[in-house]
């Protein structure tokens, strides 16, 4: 069995903690380890062999990643530039195919949070087994609220496959709140976790069928593996690739069996500072503040404070704020606006302060 951790994302939703050169998966925002380390640790009970765990990163984060894993034996694949998940998964499958084209691969993002990792691992193990049989597997989290920020998967016919599992009826983009309410009430919908299972042989055959130009590029890369041309070929191929998700490129087009394994394992994609605050259950102070670093608060409730810049952060009479203090930038935001942090980074770029993004 193999694991592929997709860690190539950039993004500044966690600005000023996250920067273009230090995206979310390299931050310690939900625990004392980076999200990538948490993901690797969580997967150890599913795929115990680091040599069968592939981390796909952007080239600018390759050294950072190698420093983080400190010779633990994980495979690191560097992309010269981000071309979305179809390219990322194709690249990993190309490498894994040379080792074992028929073993299941679990592909998952590096920057999600799982509250109950044991339940998560049990679902993944069942899903991986099902992936051996020329099927494409997805994982769906049981919804707990009418969330409009996630995509949904509608469950079809029920199948027994080690654990309960369903044919995928359809994928739904982020819904409006009325639809999200209906999905929740119907009990037929799951949150799309962006996690897939298949063999290298299966996914490469599907890429060949659905995206032949991507497959052609992957064949060129395959031919260069182990040669001195490898990096140059990967770069050349990537420059020519369309940026497209595996969902659009393959999953929504495939004629193979498409199965979803549901699970209630406390999944969150940790999409904003507000999500970080909400995940802090149990770590709040008596005024429901979630504080990391040096802080002092008076008459202040429900705030998220992170001080990594070495300063004392003092709050007086404030509620529902996000205060993120770093060495060179400080964010003070109303928590329910924290999904709009990108507006700040856009403004900073317009002000020619790219150094801070």
């Amino acid at each position: 069995m193999f694991t592929v951790i997709m860690a190539g994302g950039s993004g500044t939703r966690f600005w000023p903690a996250s920067r273009e050169r230090l995206p979310k998966q390299f931050l310690k925002i939900t625990s004392s380890r980076t999200m990538l380390e948490d993901t690797l640790e969580r997967m150890r009970s599913v795929v115990d062999d680091p040599a069968r765990t592939y981390i796909v990163v952007n080239r600018i984060h390759e050294q950072l990643t190698r420093d983080l894993i400190r010779g633990a034996g994980y495979q690191v694949l560097a992309e010269p530039l981000g071309r979305n998940t179809a390219a990322c998964i194709g690249l990993a499958a190309t490498h894994i195919s040379r080792v074992d084209p028929d073993a299941p691969i679990l592909v998952l993002p590096s920057d999600h949070h799982i509250a109950r990792p044991d339940e998560f691992a049990a679902v993944l193990r069942a899903a991986a087994e099902a992936a051996r049989d020329q099927a494409i597997i997805t994982i769906g989290a049981t919804p707990t609220r009418p969330e409009t920020g996630y995509g949904y998967i509608e469950m079809g016919e029920k199948i027994e496959a080690g654990m309960p599992c369903f044919k995928v009826s359809r994928f739904v983009e982020k819904p409006d709140s009325e639809a999200a309410g209906r999905y929740l009430a119907s009990s037929k919908f799951l949150w799309n976790c962006g996690i897939f299972g298949f063999t290298a042989g299966t996914i490469l055959a599907e890429i060949k069928s659905c995206k032949p130009e991507l497959f052609a590029g992957l064949e060129r890369i395959d031919a260069s593996i182990g040669t001195s041309d490898y990096r140059a070929v990967v770069e050349q191929v990537y420059l020519s690739l369309e940026s497209i998700s595996i969902d659009y490129a393959v999953i929504e087009k495939t004629r193979l069996p498409l199965l979803v394994f549901p699970g209630d394992f406390g999944w969150s994609d940790v999409g904003s500072w507000q999500a970080v605050y909400e995940l802090g259950a149990g770590s709040y102070d008596e005024a429901q503040n979630l504080v990391a670093g040096d802080a002092a608060s008076i008459d202040s409730d429900g705030n998220l404070v992170q001080s990594t810049g070495g300063r004392l952060v003092a709050l007086l009479g404030v509620e529902g704020l996000v205060v993120i203090d770093t060495a060179d930038a400080l964010l003070v935001a109303r928590m329910d606006r924290s999904q709009d942090v990108k507006l700040v980074t856009q403004l900073i770029k317009r002000n020619k302060r790219d150094d801070l993004c």
Copy 2:
């Protein structure tokens, strides 16, 4: 004519910008110069001779003060410890008495703001002239709102003395809001600016009569002026002195004529970050934010931001906040709680972080 600038105050109402070692008068919070420099500059049109301008400071700020005035010729008197305004004024009067006991002295705080310095200077000049005649002069600012944070002076019989002037009917401590409303409506009350005029001879005679033990101490200091014992004597005397204001010690007991000169010169004692914000008229951005330093704001209104720590401060969706960022501490406060900054410094002290106070 002489000026005495009382710059001996400590205090952390402007924490984290102000510290025990860097009180308000040494901060640039209402202009691009320190409040002490603004006060000195403002007084130049009243007393043009720096040698006749005495700055009384705490010893720990003596070097800071000398650095600030850079050899401009001002007299600097250092107190070994703060003993309130009676001691401060007594010390200055003792020195000035040796130069000219019959010349008027204008005594004023170093950390107030005056919106209309020309009108202020005209009132001070008239007040100083009146102080030649064995009288004690005070200055009162025309109230513009029912302020409960200031003391008041009730005007009695009107007198012509160059400019309109009144006998002081009584001094009133900070009133409740009902009383403050009545004072404003009556047009008989002025805000007590804490500014006095008298000759050295007059005030020393009054100190002798009202506070003989203070006078005895001042006599010992007087005898040591110009000798190598001076600093030791001042320290010894100060250690024995009661901490009492000139108001309680002398002004409210004197039998001399007590006059108040009213003026509408835009006075503020700048008592909190909120006052700093309110004094910023004309410097607000289009969303009524008052910003000093590097900042970027999105959908944020009516905030005071000071970034002196070299960081970019980004605001997102916040209103009515005070955000003060310094090298080692950050304050985020609701502006209408900014008079409670002392609660923060008290908490920090309890947490054994005196280094930040």
